[in-house]
């Protein structure tokens, strides 16, 4: 598993998630039309796109929460449409999801939220259950006294962190993050990125990260994919996207904010 962390170009890299010809729509409106996407094993894929272009919908479609009209989705080489209930459960416990709005269970404390998947899938001793939940809570940068709080008592950033702790509960192989750093202070966002980078390197985690945060793209993403015009218009290392001629990508990376960061990163890379 750890060996898979390499991100060298070329060669046949193992694909964790393969999406082909995906078409999704609501009513008359098509959100995605024949979309193709590969997420390689052990990489952090940053996923960008304008607001409302369908990033969350794509994530939810891969997770099976939104019905697709056409196309196929393979996770770890298995077509999700052809799985039995048991096989599907087996795949579901290998992925962790951070929803855009947290989606914590409102009737449970943070600690109980983190323990839900552990209780559901594993038989752990009470002591370990407690300790592991507290460890996950500490890893994401929450104070121990947040463990016994209910989601309605948390700040926006704390909700994000608690939701990440729950997504990490089973030490998943694939992590879906929908805007993990939005609503965090810049220091917190940096720590978040660092944590995800560390986990990716040590656990060989595959990360599918929807984000608007240019900092995250530059600092931890191995590749970046951009969604526009109902398709993935570009996917590759960030330099490839920087060089792209697509008007939205140009505006995104070479607009005022984008250009400033771009220059700053170029300076640090020498």
């Amino acid at each position: 598993m750890n060996e898979a962390a390499g991100t060298e170009q070329g060669g046949a890299r193992e694909v964790a998630i393969r999406v082909r010809g995906l078409t999704v729509g609501f009513g008359e409106k098509l959100i995605m039309d024949g979309l193709d996407l590969d997420v390689y094993r052990g990489e952090v894929l940053g996923f960008v796109g304008a607001s409302g272009v369908g990033k969350s919908v794509l994530t939810r479609t891969i997770l099976g929460l939104v019905r697709k009209r056409k196309g196929s989705i393979e996770v770890f080489g298995r077509n999700l449409d052809e799985l039995s209930f048991e096989q599907r459960r087996a795949i579901e416990r290998r992925w962790g999801v951070l929803f855009q709005h947290g989606a914590l269970f409102s009737a449970l404390t943070v600690k109980q939220n983190v323990q839900v998947p552990m209780r559901e899938y594993l038989s752990l001793s009470d002591r370990l259950l407690d300790e592991l939940a507290m460890l996950k809570i500490a890893l994401v940068g929450l104070k121990p006294d947040a463990a016994d709080k209910y989601p309605s008592e948390l700040s926006g950033g704390m909700i994000k962190r608690a939701a990440l702790a729950r997504a990490l509960a089973l030490d998943p192989d694939v992590l879906f993050l929908d805007e993990p750093t939005s609503g965090l202070d810049p220091i917190g966002a940096g720590e978040f990125d660092e944590l995800i980078g560390t986990l990716q390197k040590t656990l060989g985690l595959t990360v599918f990260m929807v984000t608007h945060d240019l900092d995250s793209l530059y600092s931890i993403c191995d590749r970046v994919a951009a969604l526009a015009d109902r398709k993935v218009i570009e996917a590759g290392p960030i330099d490839q996207l920087l060089a792209s001629e697509h008007p939205w990508l140009r505006a995104y990376f070479h607009g005022q904010r984008g250009e400033r960061l771009h220059l700053a990163y170029q300076a640090t890379r020498g």
Binding site: S106, D145, D148, L170, K201, L203
Partner: protein, 377 residues
Amino acid sequence: MAREPQLSVTRSDAAARASLSGSWVVTAAEAAEAAAARLTQEARAARSVSIDLSGVARLDTAGAWIIDRARQELAAGGASVAYAGASAAHETLIAEAQYRVFETPERPRVGPLMGFLSDIGLSVVGFGRDLAHGVEFLGQVVRAIGVALLNPSHIRLASLVHHLENFGFRSVPIIALISFLVGAIVAQQGIFQLQNFGATHFAVDLVGLISLRELGVLLAAIMMAGRSGSAITAEIGSMKMREEIDAMRVMGLDPVELLIAPRILSLMIALPMLTFIADMAAIFGALIVSVTYGGLSPEIFFARLRTAIGLNTFLVGLIKAPFMALVTGIIASVEGLDVQGSAESLGRQVTASVVKAIFMVILVDGLFAMFFAAIKY
């Protein structure tokens, strides 16, 4: 694909060497914990312990935590413990998932007796607060409705009609059906019991009086509490949960005027109409049973009915309806506004709304019964 976590310990005098192998991951946490317990057991007396990780195939945070816990337990026993053969990834992982004790503030404990007593106290205080809250709210609602009535351009007609459809029109079938059935059942019982005295046709008096004075309005009001009261609580409660109510307040919009007054007003308009429908359905049910089961002809049925009831019988039922609707609407809204952040609290408030509304409807009915008896109406 994963091998179980495994452990072998070799001892030489004061030193011990523990070789770990297999997958130390969360899915094998039970076995990992057992192996770690064995490690602390077997290496207890050793002065220096080396934990060799070179054979570990997979490691995750849970595994790292368990291993590090064992290491620190040994270290606490006075041994010097070191890792050997850890890859860079393992080292980072163990540093991240280092064993530590988390201190969470203790919650104050209360004994069962104290808990019981404090529950009683709290519920008494809660009842008092409910009452005060309800009266205060009644004032706000009356003001909002009054303002609306004084300048009719303020009435939100679209929203009123929408709620009238939801709370009134759409409950017609169910209210007509249950009233029809209850009217039929009461008639059947009346005929059956009065047969013994040869007074079958007095069953008509019974049904007429009881339906118009009590049954019709009670059935309609209870149905409204269950059907529309719960819906109002859920609507307002989920708006409260998502801070929609707060958003209205900061925009200077009054939720009582915008959300609650139209709902309560439409309940107050709808319930008298529903009561009328319930009355008619109950009498129709009684008519069917009297003709088919009691052997009365429709002419005799209506003749008896005309002598038994007057306009006042009918009005007694109808007058109560708006008050019951007002009580139901106020309870439903107050409970909705009391919803806290969690889904569970929403469920609790909806239940409370229905239970309290039905209770209050019956209480109001009792008060009216005393009132009408006193004025001999």
